[in-house]
Structures are given as structure tokens and as C-alpha cells.
Amino acid sequence: METDSDTITQDSASEAAAARWIDCLARISADRDLVAYKALFDHFAPLIKSFAYKIPSLQESETFGEDLVQETMLKVWTRASTFDPGLSSPGTWIFTIARNMRIDLLRKQARHSVNTVSLYQDDDDSSELDMEDIWFEDETSDVFNLLLQERTRKQVNESLLTLPPEQADILRRVYLEDKSHSEVAAELHLPLGTVKSRVRLALNKLKLVVDR
């Protein structure tokens, strides 16, 4: 149904689907409804796995994708009651959990590999912060926000396909492949300023960032 990643028809379908995912999360929260959970899983798990393998260095890893699916979907189960449809869409909520869990898994892996080299005595000095202390969900719930978010999503969906390929490519690298601007610049052998301006042009085109 929604297997083609580049069709516009997906937009309206996903708008309609949002209502369904909101209902699923409410049923998990109220009744621990496994049917609702399975429906969410079937839709989002393959996207989460895809998101995991966008990181080039992990494409050889056999477990990373499944691990990210497990950890993210487990959080969806335990946190379902904290989902607030007045705060974000289900898609945004699950995306931010997947993003945070990916950061978390990557960090654990990095720590593990540092440990094996044993460069440091204080290797277990992991941060005292959880990902969610830094990448927190927005805490203010109001209808105005939600309307803005919906409008933004629509705008982005509509104008994403009109971006010049090099701008769309950079957005994908930044958002999906876990690369900072500096890393993208190094990879494409471009000056940091060029990457910054391409991102800025893309965001302007998506009407996301209006220069102050």
C-alpha cells in the first residue's frame, strides 16, 4: 500500500492513517491492546529498520536494524500513555523515539569499541544524562501548535519533490544518515559553507526557516 517512498498520494493516506495510529496508541494505553500494537508494529517497524540502515557504517551489521526496531517499539508500548495527540502526531512521536534510540544504540556501540581498545581508565564514565534529557519532547501542548505542525508537514510533503536533487540529497544525509553538517561536507569534499547554504536553501524552499 504505502511501499513507494516517492509518491505524493501517500500524503493524504498518511493524514488519514494518523487518526488510526492515534486510536491504536489510545487502545494500547487503556487496554494493552495487542491487536492495536501489532497494527502499529506492522506499519512502523519496517520504517524504523530502514532508518537504522541509513547509516552507512552499519549496513554490514546484522543486528542493528532489528535491535533498533525492538528498542523503539518497546518504548512505544511502555510510553503509549504519555502520547498526547494535542502535542504531536503519532508519526512525529515515533520518529523522535526512533531517533533518540538510534543515538543511544550508537553511543553504546561506540563505548563498547572504545573499551576493547582500552585507551582509557575511566571507560565506564558514561554520561549521567539520558538522551531524553537533551532531545526532549516539547512540553507545551496546545491546539495552535498542532495546527502549525500539520501545516508544516503538508508544506514539506508538497514541496519536497520540487527540491533540486543536490538539496534533497543533503537533507536526506543530514536527517536519515546521522551525519552532521561537518561530516557531510567531508564526505562530499565540499566546504562546510556550501553544505550550510544548500541546507538553508532547501529549508527556505520548504518554507521551514525564514531568515531572522
Binding site: E2, T3, Q10, S14, I28, K38, F41, A45, L47, K49, S50, G65, E66, V69, Q70, L74, W77, T78, R79, A80, S81, T82, S88, G91, T92, F95, R99, R102, R107, Y120, D122, D125, S127, E128, L129, D133, I134, W135, F136, D138, E139, N145, L148, Q149, T152, R153, V156, N157, L160, L171, V174, Y175, D178, S180, K196, V199, R200, L203, L208, V209
Partner: protein
């Protein structure tokens, strides 16, 4: 009124999750004081969501859902949280919002005095924060009212966010919430305003083998590698 904001590069990398933890902490701290950047991040998160949902799905292993169910059934920790049992963001917020951003409050356990402060002279002290980011050093800096930070040259890029009070350098005056980036090689000498102590969060790109802010601060004067001595973390 916040005047200096992170540029789009920082906000985008923050929203995408690729910003190093220490720099992300600086952005999150700025967001605590700045609603307009918060709104921008919210928009950028929507962009991330659109890109996420447009991906080509990748089939998961057939046993994946059953594995998940057995974890859910076997472990009491994986029960759905009830709204009441979720550590209330509201209560956490009430105790800290008026003073410190959430992550900073957590790092110092709501008590700045609990940090391991090291003084340089009588006007300036700093406390290193423990983050899982080895490429950078992150500290809280405290300058007494009217006091100055020792003049120093930046060896890496530094981000500073003002948490309390204000400070000035040769270019401008910076107030609560301001997000200031200084790049490699710049020399500056921040001075706190006369009427109030100044508290800042600072993160500095650092060579991995050196772990002491003070040593690096003084480096330009000694211009040689310190021994292998590594400074203690609180």
C-alpha cells in the same frame, strides 16, 4: 530577550540527532530560554518525520514481533506506564524551570554546589560536566560580578550559553539564553556585568588526550604538552 541564536546548522543537526551530545546540550539549554528556536526545532522535526515516513520500508524478521511480546510479558519493567507513574515532566519542570534547564539541573542534582568547582583566581571558577562525549569538554563557568575570565586563545571552537547574569567581551554584551560561538584562534576576555554573577555553559572542541580545561586554558602560556596526568572528574 535572547539576541544570539544557534544558526540553522546547529538546529538542523540537533533535530536530526547528529549533533554531538555536548553541543546538543548547549542547543537544548538555549531552547529552554528561546521559544522562537523551539518553534523552529518543532518544524524541523516535522521535516524529519516526513523524510522518515517516505523511506522505503525494510522487512523485519518474522520472529520480531513475537520476540517483542515475550520481552513485554517476561519483564515487569516493560509494563505500560500509567500517566501517574510516569515521572512527571510537570513536577520536574516546576522545581527547575525558574532556574536551570532540565539537563543541567539533572547533572548537578538541582544543586550547583554539588559540582566539583575548580577556581582560577578569585573571580573565576569552573566545573566540568560528565558527558559521554570525549571529543569535547563541557563545563559550567562561574564569573563573579565584575570579574573576568583569564584572557585565553581558543584552540578549538567553543559554544557558550548564558544561564544567569550576563557578560561582555570586546564585541557585545550577552544575556540569559544567548548562544555564542567562538572559533579557533580567537582571543577573548569575557567580563561579567557589575551587578550580578554570571553562570555559563561552555563546550570546547578538545584534543582527546587532554582532559583538563584549566591546562588547556593555560596552554598558550606554557606552550608544551602537559604530562600524562589526567584531571579527575568530580
Amino acid at each position: 530577550m535572547v539576541k544570539y541564536h544557534p544558526d540553522v546548522r546547529y538546529l538542523t543537526d540537533y533535530s536530526a540527532g547528529s549533533l554531538p551530545q555536548s553541543q546538543a546540550l548547549c542547543v537544548a539549554t538555549h531552547l529552554h530560554y528561546c521559544n522562537s528556536c523551539k518553534a523552529r526545532v518543532r518544524e524541523l522535526n516535522e521535516l524529519g518525520t516526513v523524510l522518515f515516513t517516505r523511506q522505503q520500508p525494510v522487512a523485519v524478521e518474522s520472529a520480531a514481533f513475537d520476540n517483542l511480546l515475550s520481552r513485554i510479558h517476561s519483564d515487569a519493567d516493560h509494563k505500560p506506564e500509567q500517566p501517574a507513574s510516569v515521572p512527571s515532566r510537570d513536577s520536574a519542570r516546576q522545581s527547575t524551570q525558574s532556574t536551570l534547564p532540565r539537563a543541567i539541573a539533572k547533572l548537578c542534582k538541582d544543586n550547583l554546589d554539588s559540582l566539583n568547582w575548580q577556581s582560577i583566581g578569585k573571580q573565576f571558577r569552573f566545573a566540568q560536566l560528565k558527558l559521554g562525549d570525549r571529543q569535547r569538554e563541557t563545563s559550567l563557568l562561574h564569573i563573579k560580578a565584575g570579574g573576568a575570565v583569564p584572557r585565553h586563545r581558543h584552540r578549538g571552537d567553543e559554544i557558550t550559553v548564558v544561564l544567569q547574569g550576563s557578560f561582555s567581551d570586546q564585541e557585545d554584551k550577552y544575556n540569559i539564553g544567548d548562544f555564542i560561538v567562538r572559533t579557533h584562534g580567537e582571543i577573548h576576555r569575557p567580563v561579567a556585568s557589575q551587578d550580578e554573577d554570571c553562570l555559563c555553559l561552555s563546550t570546547l572542541d578538545a584534543p582527546i588526550q587532554m582532559s583538563n580545561w584549566l591546562l588547556r586554558l593555560l596552554m598558550p602560556f606554557f606552550n608544551k604538552q602537559p604530562g600524562q596526568r589526567s584531571a579527575s572528574f568530580g
